[in-house]
Symmetry: C2
Subunit: 282 residues, 2 copies
């Protein structure tokens, strides 16, 4: 079991689950960003899947409260009712039970009982969905950074943009999270000199989506890779961005500026803009 | 706006947000797996970020209810109170409001007001965290499939296992979700013949984590790549798995069987086993 870092007078946040606790962590993060001024320290405790572990975890959290004096906030997603009951009875922090609040009312609404097995959400593996994710990741890795034009027409989307504009992480996130096949293709000075898209992309124009970024931020990112290079200089970044945005505008390619956006937000925007949500849901 | 596929008499699930709706989708998925017998169709509607769009979305969902006769289930994570109010007043489905239920009580507990800005959770980008994710993804791509031994000692974890045991998707998920640097290294017949780990891994034994898989499932996965090959044959898969598990046991390497686990669950198990949660949280 992991130690908890002391952070008094900051608030301790615990995320406790009989499964991976990843879902709980994602929602806890969203909820906590509603309190941007709060100084807190977060500890995830996954796989609390026996009554004994529940008791032990409750005691450990109580000990932290005793030492630091502030009531911890505890996000939980227990599926097993006995484990949940034991935990809730023994812990003294502020519990935010992410499952129970909704599952009960849903049972009424749907007129059916819920499954009370442990870690259901990540335990039952849907092999078809798994295979689709793996195939999408394979495809995306093979078509990263314009590595090959073979099979480019099988892409659900082809991201374009200058080097380090965020194409690779966005491609991988889209493949991993949504199981869609993404290729990404760099726009380079040769393309700007020629004034047109790379040849391989011309017949696939409707699959293209562009990423742009503020020159200042691009220069920062490139400087981490190649410090003090011409590649990373602010003048060169300004020129490449201006050229790329000009080219995308002329070619009628949809694009967004990634500077202040998270990978999740960039990905969701692309899905919505290209109507990929629809395809995925049907 | 995307069309909604008809699915009567199945239940329509809508996930509506003024942000990306990704958090809402993740939690909705976890909650809905509690009802494994329910036949449902899910539609994500992100970026409902004006009162007009809220009204339009409510009407669209009401229309679906009218056509199909079953009350839709609607998961929401509106941050903006006016948009939420408009939506709630006009829609007639069963609303599961993932934010409001928890944010109000937390305001009391914490003695502070929450931020009511739109899409806060994915909108404020934490550049330090973003940089760490990008660096982890770069590292992980460079160290996929034993590509290079350079900088192998900088890995937070090195995954080992036979070809197609799930190393690459797990590595990428760990890098993307948790910002940790993952290398992965295949175990191949030459290693089994020699009866020892690849040389480069011997000094890094404490960073190793193994993935294994059922031979039947491995054969299935390999057959999709190279149908009817010796590589994919059940006999060969059985032999490689037996050899790999024998080697890992002799070398004292922790490992898990990935056959029935999701990428999320494999990743969370590795994080917990290697104590990486702790490192990440501190």
């Amino acid at each position: 079991m992991t130690d908890t870092q002391k952070c008094a007078p900051c608030r301790q946040i615990f995320i406790v689950s009989d499964g991976t606790a990843i879902t709980a962590e994602t929602l806890a993060h969203s909820i906590m960003t509603q309190f941007p001024d709060l100084d807190y320290h977060q500890t995830r405790i996954p796989f609390v899947n026996t009554v004994e572990k529940a008791l032990e975890t409750a005691q450990r959290i109580n000990q932290v409260e005793k030492e630091e004096g502030l009531r911890p906030i505890i996000f939980t997603t227990f599926v097993d009712p006995d484990i949940m009951r034991t935990f809730n009875e023994h812990v003294s922090g502020h519990i935010i039970d992410l499952f129970r609040k909704f599952v009960g009312p849903l049972e009424t609404e749907l007129g059916m009982k819920s499954a009370h097995s442990i870690g259901q959400s990540h335990r039952i593996r849907d092999d078809a969905k798994y295979n689709r994710r793996i195939a999408a990741i394979d495809y995306t890795l093979q078509h990263d950074d314009g590595q090959t034009n073979r099979g480019l027409d099988e892409a659900d989307v082809i991201l374009v943009g200058v080097s380090r504009s965020g194409k690779t992480p966005t491609s991988l996130y889209l493949a991993m999270q949504f199981g869609i096949k993404v290729a990404n293709y760099p726009l380079i000075p040769e393309d700007f000199d020629r004034g047109s898209l790379p040849d391989a992309l011309i017949p696939l124009r409707e699959k293209l989506f562009g990423l742009s970024i503020k020159p200042e931020r691009l220069s920062e990112i490139r400087n981490e890779r190649r410090p003090n290079s011409r590649y990373a200089s602010i003048e060169n970044c300004r020129q490449e961005i201006a050229d790329a945005e000009g080219l995308m505008a002329r070619e009628g390619i949809r694009w967004l500026n990634s500077t202040t956006k998270s990978i999740e937000e960039i990905s969701a925007t692309i899905m919505a803009d290209l109507g990929l949500d629809k395809r995925r849901n049907s």
